[in-house]
């Protein structure tokens, strides 16, 4: 196990280096560079821009800039935002909790509802329920999220007036109830597509488990269908799902671009979009590395969980 972990860790570091190099290069390939926006500012002369570039170290060759950035990163200095000068980690920290709240809720909802739909669809295969679930998942997967978001706002905010149209809390209120009130619509909209994905995978995994010989053994032992489902089917069906859950982990913390924008949710997705708009390269790079680390971690955690749950891997 420890050998396996060491192996994976060394692979991950190589991966992170490659991702950061590609990210850094692509970002700096964009025409204009971070200071282009000042070119049109009448209050700034060419000299001012050059001095700014000198100050920020942007006039050095790209590879030196990268090495400098990477060396600082290793020491824990993720750089400073061009926009307000606060450190990148602080900026990320400010937006993390909002995303965590939204994505955590919607992912938990998606896994719970999606698992239930998937298992029920498999045990009642080709029933009306299964048919509706299949069609529903197709619709949820093919219709873009922002459309669901806008329709949700139209019906539940404009027509019915049940929930607010956006933001995370009402300024001046900020109670738990107020947060929940704001959370309902975006988390439901966001979980729609995840329910669709999760239920399809869960249905397949359950069907797979149901067709195994040991299910027949369980029936031959005289177990009730309920016990067979809970003790023999679900456990085996969830095994392949752990990997899927591991792949979901990064998105819980990196947020959802579209949904956060539609609902003006102050999360990581919005931060990324805004930083890109402002050519705030240190923050964009910070977010890139942050999500790369999460992808690596998510997969690693999934592997560890599988190894803990599955005795075949645990002891092998």
């Amino acid at each position: 196990m420890s050998g396996f972990l060491l192996n994976r860790l060394s692979q991950s570091i190589v991966l992170l280096v490659i991702v950061s190099i590609i990210g850094f290069t692509v970002l700096n390939l964009m025409p204009g560079g971070p200071l282009a926006q000042f070119g049109l500012d009448p209050g700034m002369t060419q000299k001012d821009v050059e001095r700014l570039a000198e100050q920020l170290g942007l006039n050095r060759p790209l590879w030196i800039q990268y090495l400098d950035w990477a060396w600082r990163l290793i020491q824990g200095d993720w750089g400073h935002s061009f926009r307000d000068g606060s450190s990148v980690l602080t900026v990320i920290g400010r937006h993390l909790s909002a995303t965590l709240l939204l994505m955590g809720t919607s992912t938990a909802l998606a896994i719970a509802i999606g698992s239930w739909i998937g298992i029920r669809g498999a045990t009642h295969r080709y029933s009306l329920f299964d048919y509706c679930a299949t069609v529903g998942a197709m619709v949820a997967l093919s219709v873009p999220t922002f459309w669901f978001g806008l329709i949700g706002i139209y019906i539940f905010t404009l027509k019915l007036g049940w929930v607010p149209a956006g933001n995370m809390y009402t300024i001046g209120d900020g109670s738990v109830l107020d947060y929940l009130h704001h959370l309902i619509l975006p988390s439901l909209v966001l979980s729609l597509v995840h329910v669709a994905i999760w239920s399809r995978y869960m249905r397949t995994a359950t069907l797979d488990a149901l067709s195994q010989d040991f299910i027949k053994t369980a029936r031959a032992k005289g177990l009730s269908e309920r016990r067979i489902l809970l003790k023999h089917v679900v456990g085996n069906a969830l095994l392949p799902m752990i990997t899927l859950a591991g792949m979901q982990l990064p998105s819980i913390l990196t947020g959802a671009l579209v949904t956060e924008t539609v609902f003006t949710w102050p999360g990581m997705g919005r931060l990324f979009l805004d930083s890109l708009g402002y050519s705030d390269y240190p923050v964009v790079m910070g977010l890139l590395i942050f999500s790369a680390i999460l992808v690596v971690l998510g997969n690693l955690i999934a592997d560890i969980v599988i190894a803990t749950v599955d005795p075949r891997i645990r002891l092998a």
Binding site: G3, D213, K221, G222, N236
Partner: protein, 554 residues
């Protein structure tokens, strides 16, 4: 049926099947899985149901367990379990019978146990499902059961997960589970088919011992008359959903009355003790000379963690005379399939030499070896998986030779010729593999190998997946082909009986090494190594004075 005149099952009958008909959904190749079958399983007896694939024997077992899939249902007839007619019984009542009155063990012990639960928990589950005992009493009963089925260290075994156990051990766990509530009837659906021959002998012994000790009634499903001769008191022969013959084991084996039974018994390969008359080839040259061939499997990372090192083939030396057949016999894990893969260079060996027609091919690179490839061809075990389902038979046959430079028209001509040669009509050329039965597909596989006019054929368990009657036909075909073309053959198999049919010489492999080599008569009648003796003794139905032997040599 009016009450009162309902036939009462005699007290000495544990299971009675009366006029059972199970219908299949529309669109299947026949309307009924089984039709009008009747038989009785007497208390304290072993009833063998024998038949080839598609005979309806497993459907019968599942009907008795109340485990038929929804689309397949009993359309008429009765099944009396311990006096209760279970046809039409509610699912709950059926469930309460399963595991308590009748229990079942399956063919493949590798997949029949839940990989995520310990052995002990799976045994206790039967008792818990029928609300028998307390957690503590169930636990001690589970350990007793593990002891009873002869598993070493039951206390430790109780906490093991199935993947840690060998196939034979897992089947013992299955038996322990089936015995937990001392059912009146045990149904065993091909319980030894997936096991090695020595393990099979042990499991058969165990089932017979337990059956005698407990006075249990056993319904044993098999396709192997050797197993029937070992274990049966009473035999039911099934063919295509019908019961064609039944009677005491002695009667059916010694004087089978139905044509199908006679054919089945005749098809069972035997240790004849006579050697094959070898082909009279002009040159007695050696075509293949293998010296000190070795291959070791290494897994795990070299940098981190432990490495697993398994010597699969360990210093194997033999030679093969042109036009002869060498049988390589061994149990699973003996290295026989690895040896086959080394010879055809599907993987590289670690050391040793393979002299093919005097040239060492062991060290050749793939590019250098390519021109020799047509000369060494392989016939695979699984006729279902080894043919591409999306290619026509014609394409499957011609693609290889065309790649090696044969003009397409010539390849087509040869393919049609070979198809009729292996006993298929020429219309097969444009059809797809799924339109053929298992035996026919294996014929296609043989034709494919012959397309190259090979000098050496390597058949890896080429008849293991086939029914006995088909097996006999394919063996005959291979024999005929060798006599016509003078091709040399290496026949890899786990079945000594099959090897004795077709081989001029047999090499017995054990743990990567050849422990004994000789003509079949010597291997079977006068084995030199103790391992060979063990293997020969484990063959079902071959003991001196066995009923089957009488049947075969009247």
């Amino acid at each position: 049926m009016a009450s009162g005149i309902q036939p009462v099952t005699p007290a000495d009958v544990a299971l009675s099947v009366r006029d059972l008909t199970v219908s299949l959904p529309e669109g299947m190749e026949r309307a009924y899985a089984v039709e009008n079958i009747s038989f009785d399983l007497k208390r304290g007896q072993i009833l063998c149901i024998i038949g080839e694939s598609g005979s309806g024997k497993s459907v019968t077992a599942n009907a008795i367990m109340g485990l038929l899939p929804k689309v397949i249902r009993v359309s008429s007839g009765e099944i009396h379990l311990d006096g209760i007619n279970i046809v039409g019984l509610s699912p709950d009542k059926l469930r309460s019978l399963r595991g308590r009155v009748v229990s079942m063990i399956f063919q493949d012990p590798l997949s029949a146990l839940n990989p995520l639960m310990t052995v002990g928990a799976q045994i206790e589950e039967v008792m818990a499902a029928h609300a028998v005992g307390t957690p503590k009493s169930r636990r001690s009963r589970a350990i007793d059961l593990l002891n009873e089925v002869g598993l070493p260290d039951p206390q430790l075994m109780y906490h093991q997960y199935p993947f840690r156990l060998s196939g034979g051990q897992r089947q013992r766990v299955m038996i322990a589970m089936a015995l937990a509530l001392e059912p009146a009837i045990l149904i065993a659906d091909e319980p030894t088919t997936a096991l090695d021959v020595t393990t099979q002998a042990q499991i058969l012994q165990l089932i017979r011992d337990i059956q005698r000790r407990k006075g249990m009634s056993v319904m044993f499903i098999t396709h192997d008359f050797g197993v029937v001769a070992e274990i049966a008191d009473y035999v039911v022969v099934m063919e295509k959903g019908h019961c064609v013959e039944q009677g005491s084991a002695e009667r059916v084996l010694k004087s089978p009355s139905h044509l199908y039974t006679r054919r089945l018994i005749a098809a069972v390969p035997h240790l004849t003790g006579k050697d094959r008359v070898p082909l009279q080839a002009a040159d007695r040259a050696s075509i293949l000379k293998v010296e000190c061939l070795a291959k070791t499997y290494r897994s795990g990372s070299a940098l981190f963690g432990k490495r697993r090192i398994v010597p699969a083939v360990n210093g194997v030396t033999f030679d093969l005379t042109s036009g002869r057949t060498l049988g390589v016999v061994g149990e699973s894990g003996s290295g026989k399939s690895s040896l086959g893969r080394l010879l055809i260079k599907l993987m590289a060996c670690d050391s040793g030499s393979i002299l093919f027609e005097g040239r060492d091919i062991a060290g050749l690179s793939e590019a250098e070896f390519r021109s020799l490839r047509p000369k060494i061809q392989m016939i695979f075990q699984d006729p279902f998986a080894s043919l591409n389902p999306r290619s026509t038979v014609g394409h499957i046959l011609t693609v290889g030779p065309v790649a090696h430079g044969m003009p397409y028209s010539e390849a087509c001509e040869r393919a049609r010729e070979l198809l009729s040669h292996v006993g298929l009509d020429s219309g097969a050329f444009d059809r797809f593999p799924h339109e053929f039965s298992g035996g026919q597909r294996q014929r296609i596989g043989i034709a494919r190998a012959l397309m190259f006019k090979p000098k050496l054929l390597i058949a890896d368990e080429a008849v293991s997946a086939l029914d006995v009657s088909i097996q006999a036909q394919i063996l005959k075909l291979l024999d005929q082909i060798q006599r016509e073309t003078g091709v040399s053959m290496i026949f890899i198999t786990h079945d000594l009986r099959v090897a004795s049919q077709i081989c001029d010489e047999i090499a017995v492999m054990h743990r990567g090494q050849i422990v004994e080599r000789g003509p079949p008569s010597q291997i079977f009648l006068d084995p030199k190594s103790s391992y060979t003796r063990e293997l020969v003794a484990a063959i079902p139905g071959e003991q001196a004075g066995s009923m089957l032997e009488h049947a075969a040599n009247p």
